[in-house]
Amino acid sequence: MEKTKPPVVKRSLISWVWTSSLKLQVILILIIMIEVFARVIPLEMQKRIINEAINLRKIDLLFMYCGIYLAAVIAAGMLKYLNNIIQTIIGQRALADIRKALYHYILTLPLNFFRKTQPGMVVSSLITELTTSGNFVGMAVSVPITNVLTLLAFAGYLIWLHPLLALVSLSIYPIVIFLVPILQKRSNKANKKRVDAGRNLSSKIAESITGIHEIQGNGAFDLENQKYDRLIDRLLKIRIVWTLYAQGVKTLNNFFTNLSPFLIFILGGYLAMKGQLELGALVAFLSAQEKLYTPWKELIQFYQVYQDASVRYKRTMEYYDTLPDHEIAPKDRKPYDLEANLEVRNLSFVTDSGINLLDDINFTLKPGEHLALVGFSGSGKSTLALCIGQLYKYTGGHIQIGGKEVSELSKKDLVQNMGFVSQSPFIFEGTIKDNLLYACSARNDENGSGQDAADSMPTLDDMIAVLHQTGIFVDVLRFGLNTILTPDQDKDLVSSLLRVRQNFQRDFGEGLTDYVEFFDENKYLYYSNLAENLTFGAPNRDEFAVTNLPQNEYFLRFLDHAQLTRPLMSLGVQLARQTVDILGNLPPEEVFFEKSPVTPDELDEYKLLVERLNKVKLHELPASDRAKLLELALRFIPATHKMVSLPEILESLILEGRALFKDKISVEDPNAFTFYQISQYIFSQTILNNIFFGKVKTVNPQAQEKINQSIIQLLIEEDFLETIVEIGMEFQVGTKGDRLSGGQRQKLAIARALLKAPNMLIMDEATSALDNNSQARIQNLLDSRWKGKSTLIAVVHRLDIIKNYDKVAVMKAGKIGEFGTYDELIAKKGMLYELEFGKQ
């Protein structure tokens, strides 16, 4: 379908009128015919009621005609409403279609295009600039037809009444038709400028939001404000001019149409005086003439919408009117399975501005050979990798994979055969699994869905294997272990976990006491919050959740009873004061707030509260403030919120309160809580805390390692490891993967490429964010499992891992300075030697 049509950027606005909802448009035209007809009927009825019914005193005719009159009015009203509904549907559909088509097209544009295009601009094109196009398409059929028909009908009626007078009064309209476009042209010019200025503005906004760290870091507020204000002022001027022209069109139109009665008076009056026109006819003429006004006004408005929409539409489409560098899919064949030998001959890449980024590059790789690309930064390594990966279109020479010229292959051919890990890989919002399967799903989607595609999707085992190989397995396991299960989740899962807990206590309980704080009924838990310490159980109902406790009457009465209200309030006060004092002026960043009982959103609220506290006594505070302070106290985790220490007295009061609470609530509301017991799964806690029946105390990496090992051993014994990893793969990575560390992101990106098992792999500094061990691990993996199987081109930033590569290429200023095996090049004492050991 797509293949035969012109690309969206070449389509005219009008073309959408027919393609988006042809059927609806046809229905709409029918409706309009009936509607116009229904509008004429009252006129005719009017005449018949007077001439036939009233004059002839026929009461039955009067009722009949009035009935028809009423029916026609109701029908016209309903049809008008239907007309509006269909217009809206057509318009919104067209808008959706245009937005989809343009987005689909933009994604295929060359990378180079995006070097100079800010995301904000694309956003404003797709979101704001196209809305008028939708409106226009909605109106495009119905408004002109309805109004032209109405106009013709009334004009005909006028001519029939009095030809001469009609011609004179209608002579106004050609003048308007002549003048309006002249004004409109100026308005369009201003509109074009407005689109461009709006575009600059969105780019500017996107830039400053992206660079907010730099702006705040440098305190460059004035500088940025000036830049922004200048753009806004420019936009302001353009908008004023544009609006004035648009108003001008309206005013001009009003002026001339108002002249019409004047002409009728002067000519009609003259004729009437001369006795050539009856006074009654003149009045009838005047009132009929007035009816011309509304359809005419609507036509002019429509004209303006059309002009505005087409300016915006054209301007937007023009901007994206470049061709994708490569075909997306082959036309009349399946994607190739390419032999993985690579030949690069006389390759050059010159930028638009004439800079030679790659110059006369020559080398060949046999299938399965591994090449390390080294060289100073800026020497063109990434550019070369991008050219081979078809992400840049080289400007001269040849790259051939399996004997086929890369520039002539379609994207699908390449995707089928190649994996690419870019220098700054991107992780998408979604789960680990989504990201892991990203490359595979994309490849398979393009091969069409169905059984074939499902067959070639990796299995769970494949995924787990690649997680292991890239060294992100333990991280994913952690995510799994940190998951909180819901009570409706698999019963087997929970009972297995309880078994794991027992084994854990038996095998490791003793050895890990330094690292884990076990849930012990007789001890204060420094790694749990105060509410947990007091209730020592998981709430089964929402009203007992920590956030709801400060409003829970039952709980508040209990606090009074246990004499805890006052000490908790004063703890809350201390926490609020200290936190506000330390964090009061800091921006809402994770680093600053991870050890704070107050969240960034609440900070301002607590700041004001502290100010109030300085003015009045604690007991004089309003109830809402006291609840806030109590909430803070209930959140208090001594091991995390170090700005306040837990007074010893309070500690023992809470331990007493714990026993009291249990006694009381087990009698009064036995199902409210599930108390922490070694035989019960705790649904308010993570899987890990459930296995421990406690919480980890340390962040020390070596201790973590020990804990991990014992947990893994246990999970393996229970044949449970994969289940937890599977749960872990459902971890949401956040926007751009911001809930993962840089290393985790890179490992995930490598895993995603490896899972696809391409026969050609390009990695651009793919391990730069990894620590030594992880890097070595991945290098070993490449050496042992991929050498001889997949051809690899790796841009390498550290020289200590290149010894095992089959070939090394040293790049300098866009050329390959040296090419050969590591030993050859070192023996030669040339550039590689110099890079590795320094100048001699």
Binding site: Q216, R577, Q578, I582, F592, S645, P647, N700
Partner: protein
């Protein structure tokens, strides 16, 4: 903000207060404004290491500075596969300043030789906190420069002239 200082006194000594007191005694932090030191004291963490556990290995970029609160740590250098002991650090020692300023894979390894408690501050936290006080950067740079200078002076003072090889490579304060 003044009213808070009296409140601070009332609070039983908490970890945050102790950290603050420690930071204010370290040359690197002592000249910084109290506001900033409070944030740093809040961001610091306490880590314990058991005997034989490593604080960092050669080539690690652990990216943090350490202050020893109690216990002892030993520094090693890997020479042709053999671990060579350099010196011990005891309670009160502060090291790793440069790791706070930028990526700095370790040249040495350090391990605890008895139960060790440290106050640690990571580069990420330090940078984030400092970015709130951009005008303090010069003081930090000055403190680093002075500590390098001080180191070399001490080195020369303590009879290194006996080591002929060393004398060819002195002058690190000239970097």
């Amino acid at each position: 903000m003044n009213s808070n200082s009296e409140n601070n006194k009332k609070i039983a000594s908490c970890e945050f207060q102790d950290n603050l007191n420690i930071l204010r005694q370290i040359d690197f932090f002592s000249t910084l404004p109290l506001e900033l030191n409070k944030i740093l004291a809040y961001l610091c963490t306490r880590d314990t290491y058991k005997e034989e556990e490593y604080l960092f290995h050669e080539n690690d970029d652990d990216g943090q500075a350490y202050y020893i609160i109690s216990g002892k740590a030993r520094l090693f250098y890997n020479q042709a596969g053999k671990q060579r002991m350099i010196r011990d650090y005891e309670a009160g020692a502060f090291f790793g300043r440069l790791a706070l300023l930028g990526n700095m894979p370790r040249i040495f390894s350090m391990k605890a030789i008895n139960e060790l408690t440290c106050l640690t501050l990571t580069r990420e936290k330090f940078t984030k906190a400092l970015s709130q006080f951009p005008d303090q950067m010069p003081k930090i740079i000055k403190a680093v420069a002075e500590s390098i200078q001080g180191w070399e002076k001490r080195f020369l003072l303590h009879g290194s002239e006996n080591c002929e090889a060393c004398m060819h490579n002195i002058g690190v304060s000239l970097v």
